[in-house]
């Protein structure tokens, strides 16, 4: 205990250089722990993008691709799943709820997501938080749109604004359907997940976007109400992208009594066929079609919650083996993990940099201790005279560096918690990264231990020098 007492008093005696050293170790350790916290925060916000969803189902393809487009709003879906197939699984006895998604369109760079009230009812993120509305109401009608928080903020939209939708994904879509304006009826609370960066319309609304120029692909069934609806389905099967054969009526007057809407019931993927030919004299107006008139033909993917989680794997197998259509079900946790692994090199790099910064901090300590040794030779000689062996001198120096490293690490830890407490909400508001504040876990303790151990080992450099000096000097201070 004497050596410990001596170490502490000696460090206190050199208060200025001690506090500089402790400060630099504290800053570097705070960086290391901070990086660790940000990493955990990133990972958590990443894997908490969705929660409580047992399966994500889409057409057969890559696991990560399905995850990307249905959870993160990135990349493009290739194929859709038919409405019939979706309903079949939605009514499966093991399934408690589903959230259907219809994707593939955008508005000024933000995704447009077709979904239904199940989204508001069942979507969960970050440990069970629900989707909530900041203003307005949920979209329920055909031309209602609810905006994610970022969409509303970045595009400066308010309730009642009209929004047009671009077909295709990207800043500049292929076709803008200006004639089919959606009205903002609600704005969602910020979730700090990709939910914030999308616009939400009904599945029916999404279906309607895909009609060429606002007219439903007419069929000759009983849905066509009157003779004024001359919409004739194109039978050439051309994709609408390369030919806009739909000729809009140019008379521009509304016919309220004309209810020409006829939903397509063929269930085809919309990209492949856009046969709708509008009435040549009667402009088809969005307002003329009601939600009941639209029949949903397809969804892109859907989330599944099971009644009993033990059924998840069996259900996944069943969906993967589904014979009617090529379908795939993935476990979001597994897929997210797989995806995070791919991003792992970034966090390794981040961590590596932080470790080097800590090493630099410890080197500063080494330098400070080493340079102090010359002026401490007298002290060493006195200690020798009262019976301290050279190994005790060595122990004193090593203990001093351990104390410095430990004090620095603890101060750094305190600094991180202080900064987190002060800046957590600011970081969350500015960059959308929620960094949880939690008591130091095994990782923090491990890093703390590592820094103290590194301080211990590095302490041997000045300590060994002091040892040799003590041996050489003995009781006299020789130059």
């Amino acid at each position: 205990m004497l050596v410990f007492d001596l170490a502490l008093k000696s460090l206190r005696n050199r208060a200025f250089s001690t506090s500089l050293t402790v400060g630099s170790i504290a800053l570097s350790f705070a960086l290391l722990i901070g990086v660790e916290n940000v990493r955990v925060g990133m990972r958590e916000s990443f894997s908490n993008t969705i929660s409580q969803t047992d399966l994500i189902v889409g057409t057969k393809g890559g696991t990560i691709q399905l995850l990307l487009y249905s959870v993160f709003g990135m990349g493009a879906p290739t194929e859709n799943v038919s409405w019939e197939a979706y309903r079949q699984w939605a009514e499966h006895p093991a399934v408690e709820w589903t959230i259907p998604y219809s994707l593939g369109d955008s508005h000024r760079g933000f995704r447009v997501v077709g979904t239904n009230e199940d989204f508001y009812r069942h979507y969960r993120y970050r440990g069970g938080q629900e989707i909530a509305l900041a203003e307005g109401r949920a979209n329920t009608d055909l031309y209602d749109v609810t905006l994610g928080a970022d969409v509303a903020a970045e595009l400066n939209y308010a309730l009642g604004d009209e929004v047009s939708v671009t077909h295709g994904i990207g800043e500049v879509g292929f076709v803008t359907h200006d004639h089919m304006p959606f009205t903002v009826v609600g704005i969602l609370d910020k979730t700090f997940t990709p939910v914030d960066r999308a616009l939400y319309v009904t599945l029916e609304g999404m279906e309607a976007i895909h009609w060429e120029d606002g007219a439903p692909p007419a069929s000759d069934d009983e849905h066509v109400h009157d003779d004024e609806a001359e919409a004739a389905p194109a039978d050439d099967g051309h994709a609408h992208d390369d030919e806009a054969e739909a000729a809009p009526a140019d008379d521009g007057h509304a016919h309220d009594d004309e209810a020409e809407a006829a939903p397509a019931d063929d269930g085809h993927v919309h990209d492949d066929e856009a046969e709708a030919a509008p009435a040549d004299d009667g402009h088809v107006h969005a307002e003329d079609i009601s939600i009941e008139d639209v029949e949903i033909s397809q969804v892109t993917s859907f989330f599944v919650g099971t009644t009993d989680r033990r059924d998840v794997l069996q259900l996944q197998r069943d969906i993967n083996d589904f014979e009617d259509e090529p379908m795939m079900a993935v476990l979001p946790g597994v897929a997210l993990n797989e995806m995070w692994q791919g991003l792992g090199y970034a966090e390794t790099g981040l961590r590596l940099v932080a470790i080097f910064v800590v090493l630099v901090g410890l080197l500063g300590m080494l330098v400070s201790l080493y340079t102090s040794l010359n002026e401490r030779r007298r002290e060493m000689a006195i200690l020798r005279a009262v019976g301290a062996g050279p190994s005790r001198i060595l122990g004193l120096l090593v203990l001093e560096s351990v104390c410095l490293a430990a004090a620095g690490a603890l101060a750094g830890l305190a600094l991180v918690y202080g900064l987190l407490a002060a800046g957590q909400s600011i970081v969350e508001a500015q960059v959308g990264l929620f960094i949880p504040i939690r008591p130091p876990g095994p990782v923090e303790l491990l890093l703390l231990g590592a820094v103290v151990t590194a301080g211990f080992l590095m302490g041997f450099v000045p300590a060994f020098k002091a040892y040799r000096t003590a041996l050489h000097d003995g009781l006299a201070v020789r130059v």
Partner: protein
């Protein structure tokens, strides 16, 4: 009377350097107040280092209290010194970051055997008592940096004396004091050595103090390495 120090055939040099010490025979009886004098460079400090067990004799026999230090390991010599020897330097005797009391108490805290020699009294009480004897009882709480040189040397004497070691080695402890203070310091030192029953080895190049000692040794006379 048994011998406190018995040196035979001692030769010492640093590394491969020239011989610094070459002493055929040197003995000191217990309870002696020995005055060891010699000019600078006559090997005084080196001899004290060997006697205190900090330096290992290159050749020969160095018996202190009957123990041949030359045959002990470095760690054993350190332990021996901690238990049996009190040491006073010429100057800068004190550890700057310790209080007066902590400086005095240092040997007792360093070594359990030295602590065990306090006759049952606590380290602090013993240190305070010694400080009183040397008239520095009112300085115990002061930082050592605020003491005068004379006060510092008394603190150093207290530290050497705590736990009543058999041998007190003093390396020119009075050279930085003026003449009156030298005498006063020496009287106090003698008084405490007597109280503790310690043998005193006092080194100086200043022969004016010689008369106060019971035995005088001229180092140039015994050390054949210096010609």
């Amino acid at each position: 009377m048994s011998l406190a120090i018995e040196v035979r055939g001692l030769r010492f040099r640093y590394g491969d350097g020239p011989w610094v010490l070459d002493i055929g025979e040197l003995t000191l009886e217990r309870g002696t107040r020995a005055f060891l004098f010699g000019p600078s460079g006559s090997g005084k400090t080196t001899l004290l280092g060997v006697l205190a067990g900090v330096l290992a004799a290159t050749e020969g026999e160095v018996r202190v209290l009957g123990e041949d230090l030359a045959s002990l390991s470095g760690a054993r010599r350190d332990a021996f010194r901690a238990e049996h020897i009190g040491y006073v330097f010429q100057m800068f005797n004190l550890i700057p970051y310790l209080s007066v009391l902590d400086n005095i108490a240092l040997p007792a805290r360093m070594d359990a055997k030295r602590r065990a020699r306090l006759d049952g009294a606590g380290v602090k009480d013993t240190a305070a008592l010694l400080a009183d004897h040397l008239h520095i009882g009112d300085l115990l709480k002061k930082p050592v940096t605020e003491l005068s040189v004379g006060q510092q040397q008394r603190v150093a004497a207290c530290r050497a004396l705590i736990g009543s070691p058999e041998i007190i080695v003093a390396d020119e402890p009075t050279s930085s004091l003026d003449f009156d203070r030298r005498e006063a310091f020496l009287r106090l030192l003698f008084q405490e050595c007597e109280r503790a029953g310690s043998t005193l080895v006092f080194v100086s190049h200043d022969r004016t103090l010689e008369g106060m000692f019971s035995r005088t040794i001229s180092l140039p006379d015994v050390n054949k390495a210096v010609l």
